[in-house]
Structures are given as structure tokens and as C-alpha cells.
Amino acid sequence: MKFISLKKNLSLHLLYLILSMIFVSNVNAKNIVSIDASEQSTDVTQSSHAQLEKLIPQLQVKNFKKKIASVKQLADIKNPQNITILEALLDSRLYYQKADKSVVIIQKKDNQYEIFSPLDNSKIGLVEKKTIKKITTNNKLRKTIRTLLAQKKVSHTDLIIRQAALKEILTSSDASLLPVLQQAKTNESDDSQKELLTLAIALIEVDSKDRSTRLSAIKILGNSVFPRAKGKLEQVLMTNEQGSFIEQDKDIIKASQKALKRIDSKLSLFSNLETLFFGLSLGSVLLLAAIGLSITFGVMGVINMAHGELIMLGAYTTYLVQQAMPNDIGLSLIVAIPAAFIVSGLFGIAIERGVIRHLYGRPLETLLATFGISLLLQQMVRTLISAQNVPVITPSWLSGSLVFNPAFAITYNRIYIFFFALMVFASLMLILKKTSLGLQVRAVAQNRSMATAMGIKTQWVDSLTFGLGSGVAGVAGVALSQLTNVGPNLGQAYIIDSFMVVVFGGVENLWGTLVAAMTLGITNKFLEPWAGAVMSKIIVLIFLIIFIQKRPNGLFPQKGRSSGGH
């Protein structure tokens, strides 16, 4: 019964996972709150409101010159509402009502238009199209508005609005914004924002007339990994049809080439880092899929072809748990982990009791019988749930990505799965090394008849070991449900890979499984860029087939008398 007490250790890990997840979701929530607060805290003085009231009707004059003048005046008012109005005008959503000439912001809704007051965004009502008329704009007006908006936004008091505005400016650098950006840079207090402003200015200044300004701008671009910076440098280095540079200044060409080289070496470093991370994440998926098999195949010597289907059952358990608690998607995933462990574990014990028990010592027959079970389980899911893939929702704390810089970002779900796989691995290690069940499992694996002689109930140990391996497969299914489609064929996609991992790592060796999974994952991902996804998989398979010829017992062969005897 020591087994149960040490299961607490596993639950401690789970608790840690849950706590860390709650922490992350709290941080998100705080961000949202801070946005709201900043919007409310901007004080709206009475006088600015009056000015707004006075200026809005002037927007509907026909004369564009006058319109531009009033737009400029409008932008000067210290009232956040003017941004809304200018944006509406830019998007052609600013209309006036034909009846009383009052200006409104519209929002299309079915065949009608919802209208809002430009003063405070309050909803006025629902109107037909013919009762309202658009306030027209021309190119010059739009350009003015764009500049004014950019100016207002990059120097806005709220950092989030400043960041968003700058992001937009960086995608379409507009030379006329140069003074605005320079102004904003002197007032900027945030460091990363200041850096981006420098970059935005440099992107414009590359095309300036002054040579030294251009050179310093090129230098700045060379330090950035923004895709636009690279694009701009390539633009400078454009060649004509004869292959000679359009740019005449040799120093500029040299500086640009140097800067481009710098960017390229940085980008390749980041892309290698990214590939490494993709490899680790594929490796952790393989580890999760294979580790249960490593126990049943490695420790018990049982070929379980239904292992993939036990993973699939775990994924379906996730789906069913989500169906049962649709309002707590975030929590449902946590609940699904023990649920999947139990469901797949029970199925595993049933398989062991019902079929595998009668086939010990006949590995080829076990292989065929468990394959039959896998067909039964697949068809069971098809009949009971659906032949189509089922939707499993990704909770908010798993979506999104951790952005290091524009060239390197990691999605959260892959980070979580990496650590989750390691945690599952550690828990299994603990169970096998530190519990009495683990001791008995290892004893039975090493010498079955001697273990029986020492009073170990081998049959009972077999069932529990198989249940443990199957339960871990179920837990792997929960993780996989966040990465791939959940359907009846989910398990088949992983079974051969899992076997390869176990065989590559060496039987009866969990460390071997860990190393093998990570090696195969990383190799696969590094082959992918030049061989293609399918081809790299084929190469890895062929490599494995040849590897097994050389070292039939895997990377870390089992030591002892029983090895190689079968």
C-alpha cells in the first residue's frame, strides 16, 4: 500500500501544475483590468466636450479644405472620443442623418444600420439605409487623418495603445510620419517602445537625402530582426536587369550588405533555436506516447498494439469531460488528466485480465490479439460517439505564444506539453524506483519465477503494471488532444512511432525512452527544412531500421542474463 502514499507525490506535481496554470490566468486577467482602468481614468473635462459638440457638425461641410481644417481642430481637443470619430471617418463609418443633419457613427447590422452618438458612443437606434448619408472623404483628407491619428496614438498616455499604433506604423512606414515619430521618441519613456520608434524612424530615414543619416539608419536596421528591416535593406540592394546595383553610392551598398549579413546570421540563429524547440516539443509528444508502451513492452515484454487506442481513449475522455463542464474549459483539462488515467487504466487492466493473461510467452499471438482489440476500440468509438473528429477546445491559458522577438516566438501549448511530459516521466520514475509496486514490477521483469518464489503475486503485479502503462497512455491522450485532431484514428498515427522510440531507446529503460524520444524529435525537425515533412519521417524510419540491425537492443541495452535470450 506504499504505492498509494507515493501516489501523493504524483498528485503534488499535479497540484503544482494547477497552481501554475491559475497563476498564468490571473496575470491575463490583470492585464484586462488595467486596460479598462486606463480608459476610464482619462478625465473628460466639460470644456472639451463642448468643443467636441461644436466641431462635429462642421465635419459634414462639402468643402474638403474646410473639412481638413475642422479635422485638425478636432484632433487638438483633449478628449479620447476624437480618436473614435476620426477612425470612423477614415473607415467611412461616419454618417449624418438626413432628417436633422446630426452626425452619427454607424455599424451595419443585417439589412439595417445601428447608429451611435459620436459624442459618447451611446446607441441612438436602428435606421434604414436611406435615412442616412455618408460623410465623404478624399485622399488628402484621409492622409491627414491617418497622420493625425498616428500622432495622437504614438504619444497616447496608454502604453498598450502606443504599442498597437507603432506596430501598425511599422508594417506600412509612411515617410510623412517622420516628424511625428521623432517627436514621440523624445517623449517616450518605455525602453522597448523607444527601440521600436528608433527602428521606425530608421526605416524612413534609409530613403533620406542625407548620406550620413542613411548610413546610421542602415546600421540601426542591421541590429533588428524585424522582417521589414530586412526587406528594406534588400530594397536598397536591388539590382537592375544587368545585375548592377541601382544604388550608386558604394559606401551605402557596402553598409547595407554588412547589415544584411548581420540580420541573416541572427535570423538563422533564431530559426535554429526555433527548430530545436519544435524538435523538443515533438520529442515530448513522442515521449508521452511511448512512455506507457515502454512500461508494458519494456518491463513486461508484452506487445500492446492497442496502445495507440488507449491514447485515443484518453483524448476522447478529454472531449467528454469538456462536454460535461462546458463553462469551465480551463478547469476541464485539469480534471481530464486523472479521468483519462482512470479510464485508460481500467481498459488496460481489462485487456490484461481478459486477453493478454492467456497469451504470456506467446508474443506474436499477443501482438495479433491486441491488434484485434485496437480494431474493436476504434469501432466502438465510431459507433458510440462519432466517426468524425470531435472538437476539443483549447483553454485560454494554453493558447497564444511567448514572443521573444519578431523572429522567435514559442506557443504556450508546446511549452506546457514539454514540461508536462517531463513531469509524467519523473512521476513514473518515482513510482518504479521508490514504491513497493515499482520494486515488485522490476523484480518480476528481471526474473518472473524467482519473484513468485519470493512471494510476489506476479499476476496482480502484471495487472497493475499494465494498468499503469495504459493509464499513462490515457494521460498522453489528454496532451495530444491539444495538439492534433481527436478522431478514431488518432492512436494509429502514433503506434509505430511509439514502438520505434521504445526499441531505439532500449527495452526496460525509461531513460533510454526519454533520450530516444528527444533525439528522434529533434532529428526529425532538423531534417524537415531540407527534406520535407514526409521525407524526413521516412529517413528517420530507415535510419531506425538500420540502427536496430547494428544494435538490436537499442541505445541503452538491458544488462543481465535475460537479455538477448528471446
Partner: protein
């Protein structure tokens, strides 16, 4: 026994085999008579689709014999035998593709349709020679044989056995499936090779050609059976059985175990290749799905159901399971996987010697009863 005059010496004790070959001859005569000689309007006429279906079964039975040879007699459970079958099929498919000539949708005399579709300008080198039937026939034997030779040479030499070997063969067929799914492979990618027109100048749609291919399948099955029986009755066969039962002991006596294994494995792969080559013109398509590991495992269950190590048991298993498959996928499509899954479990748990074993047990009981009656 008079019937022994029709069979070679080594088959005289093989009652099952004699029965099987006689039945095969009978079926061929019946099919030819009722499909070809009886007028189409007659109620006795056998529809051509049925002939094709039977022909398909016979090819699969030949494939089952190939697996039984390595599994039942040599103890190598190959879970990649469908790969050899598919390779033979692809070789035949390439020949049939080249026979289409300019009758394809794009009317290109040199390139098959899918290559025109992929904007290829010339035929890849490995397609050369497939316009000749003799070359194709050679390839049908050589390609699966060579793959089996290379794979077997590496595997048997390093003494990979048992489930490891099974998983390796499964990985092999899986890798081949992934490779054949690629368009860059130049073998039709996902869609495979299809839209065949004729073989050796005879239209594949005509009843006469189909009857001939059917008869050839029956002949191939019979020849394959006789050759396999000859091998297992020979000295080589006895050694192979010894390897199955006690590999180490055989090795210590002085036999080069890996050579025997390799020989039987390569022969079996060639047999599978022939089965595939006869299968393709009858079904009219070959695609990478044939490489799927599921097919190979299903094949193992035919052999297990029929009875391993008997050769005719494999034929019985292949015919029965495939007939059941045709029936269930038509009548109760949902039920088929349940039935197949149960078949796997039941046959391994309760029928270790398959249907043939069941029959023998029954026969032994009756003879024992007779013996008791006599002594009583």
C-alpha cells in the same frame, strides 16, 4: 490411390493439398464454363464481376501462402508482407500505365496522365523498360525479392528475431507507404496508378481477358502451392522448421541459420510480388494504401484463422476472411471491424492451430473412437 498419379511424389501424403488443388481445378472449369461458354442471357450465366472477385480472392490466397511459408514454417512473423505484394502490383501497374500510350486524358504518348498533370517533361529513369512485358515480369520477381534480400540480409545477420523483427517489418511497410504517397516519387502519389486499358494488346474490360487472368491466378496459386509444398518437404524445409522450433540448437549443430531464413524470406517475397501483379489488372488500381500496416496485419490473421504451418490452411483462411469481408462491408459496414477484431482475439485465444487444427482435433477424436470400438 489413383488420384496420386496426378500429383508429384512429395504431395502424396498431403491430403489437404490434393483436395485444394482438385477443388481449384474444378472451380476454374466451372467458372470458365458458366461465364464463357454459357450465353449471357441464360440464368446459369456467371456474371463477370464474380469472376473478377474470385480471381482477387485467389491472388490474396497466394499472398497468404507466401506469409505462411515464412511465419508458419520459419517463425518469422512478417508484418510487412503486403509491401512485397504492393511492389509486385506497382511493377504490373507501371507496365499497364505504359500500355495506355496516347489514350490518356492528356493524350501524351510518352508520359502517364499524372506526370503531365505535374508538369513533368520526361519519364523518370526507373520507368524505363516497363513498356516491355518480359522486363516487367522480371521486375515483378526482382523488386520484391531484392528488397527482401537487402532487408533480410541485414536483419537475419544481426539476429533480430521475434517481435522486434515484426515491428521492423511493420516500420518498413510504413516507410514505403509514406514514400509512395509522395508525388515526387513519380508513381502517382495519393491516387496511385489506375485507368488501365489493356494488357499484351487485349482489352482489360473484355470477358475473355478477365477469364484468362482468372485462370492464370488459379494456375499461379496452384504452382505457388506446389512449389511451397516442395520446399517444405525438401531437406531445406526440414531445416527451416528446425530453425523455427530451436534456432540456437540448429545454429550450434552447424547450420548457417541466416542463409536459410534469407532464402525462404526472399522466395516468399517473390511469391507475394506475383500475387500483387495478378491482383492489379483485376481490381484495376494500385495505390499506396496497399502498403498500409493494417493490410499486413490482416494478412497475418487470415493465416492464423486458417491454421499456420499447413499451407492449405492459409488458403482457407484467406478465402473465408475475404468472403466475410466482402459480405459484411456490403451488408453491415459498421459490423465488419467488430467482427475482424473479435476474429483476431478468438483465433489467438481459442484457435491456436486455426480451422485446420479444429478439423484435425475432430478427426483425431473420431479415429480414437473407432480405435476404442475396435479394441472393445
Amino acid at each position: 490411390m489413383i488420384i496420386n498419379h496426378f500429383f508429384p511424389q512429395f504431395m502424396h501424403k498431403d491430403t489437404g493439398g490434393k483436395l485444394l488443388l482438385s477443388l481449384l481445378a474444378l472451380i476454374t472449369i466451372i467458372v470458365v464454363t458458366f461465364n464463357f461458354l454459357v450465353a449471357e442471357s441464360s440464368a446459369w450465366h456467371m456474371p463477370t464481376y464474380m469472376v473478377t472477385l474470385l480471381g482477387k480472392y485467389l491472388c490474396l490466397a497466394l499472398l497468404a501462402i507466401a506469409l505462411d511459408l515464412v511465419w508458419g514454417y520459419c517463425g518469422i512473423l512478417s508484418l510487412g508482407h503486403a509491401a512485397f505484394f504492393a511492389l509486385g502490383g506497382y511493377a504490373m501497374g507501371m507496365y499497364l500505365m505504359r500500355q495506355i500510350g496516347d489514350r490518356g486524358v492528356y493524350g501524351n504518348p510518352e508520359l502517364p496522365d499524372f506526370m503531365v498533370f505535374l508538369n513533368w517533361s520526361e519519364l523518370p529513369w526507373y520507368w524505363y523498360g516497363f513498356e516491355s512485358f518480359a522486363f516487367t515480369a522480371l521486375m515483378i520477381l526482382l523488386v520484391p525479392g531484392l528488397l527482401a534480400y537487402v532487408f533480410g540480409w541485414m536483419t537475419f545477420r544481426s539476429r533480430v528475431t521475434g517481435v522486434y523483427l515484426s515491428i521492423m517489418t511493420q516500420a518498413l511497410t510504413y516507410a514505403l507507404m509514406l514514400a509512395f504517397f509522395r508525388n515526387e516519387m513519380g508513381l502517382g502519389g495519393n491516387n496511385g496508378l489506375t485507368d488501365f486499358k489493356d494488357i499484351l494488346g487485349f482489352s482489360l474490360q473484355s470477358d475473355g481477358t478477365r477469364i484468362v487472368i482468372f485462370s492464370l491466378s488459379a494456375l499461379a496459386l496452384a504452382m505457388g502451392y506446389i512449389a511451397s509444398r516442395f520446399i517444405v518437404e525438401s531437406k531445406l524445409g526440414k531445416t527451416v522448421v528446425a530453425i523455427r522450433d530451436a534456432e540456437l540448437r540448429t545454429r550450434f549443430i552447424g547450420y548457417k541459420v541466416e542463409n536459410f531464413k534469407l532464402w525462404i524470406f526472399v522466395f516468399s517475397a517473390m511469391l507475394a510480388g506475383v500475387a500483387g501483379a495478378l491482383y492489379v489488372p483485376q481490381v484495376g488500381i494500385i495505390n499506396p494504401g496497399e502498403f498500409s500496416p493494417l493490410n499486413s496485419i490482416e494478412l497475418a490473421i487470415w493465416v492464423a484463422i486458417g491454421g499456420r504451418g499447413t499451407l492449405f490452411g492459409a488458403v482457407i483462411g484467406a478465402l473465408l476472411v475475404n468472403y466475410a469481408k466482402t459480405y459484411f462491408t456490403g451488408a453491415l459496414p459498421e459490423f465488419w471491424l467488430f467482427a475482424l477484431g473479435t476474429l483476431f482475439i478468438v483465433s489467438t485465444l481459442y484457435l491456436p492451430k486455426g480451422i485446420v487444427g479444429l478439423f484435425e482435433r475432430f478427426q483425431n477424436k473420431t479415429s480414437e473412437n473407432k480405435l476404442e470400438e475396435k479394441t472393445a
